[in-house]
Symmetry: C2
Subunit: 428 residues, 2 copies
């Protein structure tokens, strides 16, 4: 294929006219498709329906230690859930607190607590004039919303296939005491599907922050969310690496079963050093008597152990792998060689990241929307919704049916072509 940039103006115009006819055809289909959020599809949800039978009216509701799961108590979660989630997160159960249904809520609470009470005896952030966070970008919009909500200044840091630009991270973190944290999705990152390299994780664990209350917010959302049996990314476990580096307290790690069982009805967790956990428990005991132990028990009874969970994740992969592959195939077929877009090919997670020509992302998303296909808002993957190049679009292939997804992906590539040509024509 001829790269668009090498076409003559007339060739471009002719191509654009043809594409607009095609776009009209799509508009007339009256589509109503959604590629905006990382939501599991119905077939994925059905995979966990067996969990609804894991507890029943005749079930024994006691934990292995004799605790009646139905009553008050158990601030940090039941032991067997800590073991299961510990295996999932690659952490010692003693380093884990099991929370409620949302790891986002745990992250929010963690920031909120740092604002009002500080971390391990340090000044509460709300008493400081400036609090800043590093935000590897493109990144997860809901992370950025939390820090924005708390008035924390967000500094974008460039992402690469091996993780954030660590030269910049190391420099900024060691120089500026106002920098209190960094958002990370280290495995199958949102939106790129990148996994941090061993070197990146090692450099994270060896950070020498100017602020003693600096923390890495390590959102391991996709820890067991592989697409393939053979091509699985692996990252160095961060708590262990921090401990080896003499930096045990440097990281808060988060995970949940939202995209394993039911989003909104799973269990979330935080892993951290014993120092950090003591700090957190001292707060948590004022906030709640305990989280939902019945749901913890339900998860344990359903999966039995980490092997059960991994087998379950293979079923998820079987449902969504064809969707990722279909999108990649269509992108490849429609866009390869045109020089108007690049996209990632992740081994896991929930997203594909698409880079348009500079200045095209908003327009592409608008075109798709006008033809009935909803994408994540352009800019959403950047702090304050400001993508400096207006080029990143997050593609979420899991929720639509395979047939709908193909239609949506085709329309998307059409929009990319149209907007790119308009851009190239306008720029001459």
């Amino acid at each position: 294929m001829t790269p668009y940039a090498e076409m003559t103006k007339d060739e471009m115009k002719r191509a654009l006219d043809e594409l607009l006819v095609e776009y009209d055809r799509f508009q007339n289909l009256g589509l109503n498709l959604d590629m905006s959020r990382g939501k599991p599809c119905k077939e994925q949800l059905d995979l966990s329906m067996g969990m609804m039978d894991a507890l029943y009216s005749g079930a024994d509701m006691t934990c292995e230690d004799g605790t009646d799961c139905r009553n008050y108590g158990g601030l940090t979660g039941i032991r067997e859930a800590k073991i299961l989630i510990g295996d999932m997160m690659e952490n010692n159960p003693d380093n884990i607190i099991i929370y409620g249904n949302s790891s986002l809520n745990v992250m929010y609470d963690t920031i909120s607590r740092a604002m009002t009470h500080g971390i391990l005896g340090h000044t509460p952030w709300c008493k400081l004039d400036h609090v800043k966070f590093l935000c590897p970008s493109p990144g997860y919009d809901r992370h950025f919303k939390i820090t924005e909500y708390f008035g924390i200044e967000m500094i974008p840091v460039e992402m690469s296939p091996t993780g954030p630009d660590m030269d910049t991270v190391e420099k900024l973190v060691s120089e500026d005491e106002a920098i209190k944290g960094i958002w990370c999705v280290p495995k199958y990152s949102n939106p790129q599907g990148y996994s941090y390299s061993d070197e990146t994780v090692r450099r994270f664990a060896r950070l020498k922050p100017a602020a003693a209350d600096f923390r890495i917010f390590w959102d391991n959302a996709y820890c067991v969310h592989h697409l393939y049996d053979d091509h699985q990314d692996h990252i160095i476990e961060i708590l262990a690496e921090c401990k080896r580096a003499g930096n045990a307290d440097l990281v808060y790690k988060f995970a949940s079963t939202s995209k394993i069982t039911f989003p909104g009805s799973g269990i979330a967790s935080l892993a951290a050093s014993l120092n950090n956990l003591e700090d957190i428990k001292a707060q948590l005991q004022n906030q709640t008597i305990g989280h939902d132990k019945v749901n913890q028990l339900r998860h344990v009874r359903f999966f039995k152990d980490i092997h059960g969970m991994c087998e379950h994740m293979r079923k998820h992969a079987d449902v969504i792998r064809p969707k990722f592959e279909a999108v990649e195939e269509i992108f490849e077929r429609e866009l390869k060689g045109l020089g108007i877009g690049e996209w990632t090919k992740p081994n896991g997670g929930y997203f594909i990241s698409f880079e348009t020509l500079p200045g095209c992302a908003k327009e592409v998303v608008a075109y798709a929307m006008k033809a009935g296909v909803k994408m994540t808002g352009a800019g959403a993957t950047w702090p304050y919704g400001r993508d400096p190049k207006d080029s990143n679009i997050r593609v979420a292939p899991t929720y639509p049916s395979l047939a709908d997804l193909k239609t949506a992906a085709e329309l998307f590539t059409l929009c990319v072509k149209i907007v790119s040509l308009q851009k190239l024509l306008g720029e001459e």
Copy 2:
């Protein structure tokens, strides 16, 4: 019976000696009983086991509006849960947000949000030099822990059988802009089991606070928790009364199903004016994508409607009524006429409040503990754990078996007698 205070010193000493022999006998029993917390007993938990069958692998998991409860979304809860809980709280479903498993957590979050972001555009409390709360006392220790944790100054207000001393509440609230809230358990109060009179509720709704961001924290924890079919307390619904009084935004109201289904695995809720709800939702959308809708659906399918819930509460009452009556009977038999203690006789809720002679509560609790009966820590029912008269003890009769409870109550009365006699002898 002769009141202890009218006995001669010799009579007291002889009585004390006999009681101490009896106390020795109890100590030798090696008891290990717990009357410290308002926990349902196993028989009560068993009443809700049918809820574990309400959802099963073949169940339809969609709400009436077509929402798949298993997926993300639904920030404020599913409609049918709002209707059920609305009927329980006597509020319009549109005034309700369904949360996770803990109303305490909702209260904590509400205070935390006021600290970091303020209420309806007012200055965040963390930016103020002084923030104060009125604390009707004796009251609920976990309320006081939240305000203490946030460094909020707590001012005790006297409680009576009709509610807090409203002359004091009105005066303080109208004069001091630093007073931002008041903790209330308006029905079957913790620990007395008092219910606010109509006049009290009306005066609450008509408060004229100096602070525009003053809120009543109305913890309606025991809204349907009656002990009797015939003697049921009824209180005026506060949101409606505030609206009628032109003070719609004055109150946050909380409730949960913790003591209806399973503590820790129920659903919690907040009811407030639409203004307040908008304010809260703007925050909540940064905190979570949504709460556990599957558990909301499970509750709705189990109860069907408010009548189902009320019938369920009759079963709870049948289990715990004999326990309350046993304690009252033993207190009556052992202590009536001795002039060394007073206790409440609630129509609902989870507690009996006991008033010893001044300066005896700590010692009574210590004596009970030494004989193997754990009571709520003396002082816990007061802000900062400081009971000025050292006289209030919260009695929680629900958790132990009836036989154990009788033993514990007998021991308790014995401890009251011993400590009272020692006090009277010491004071001469």
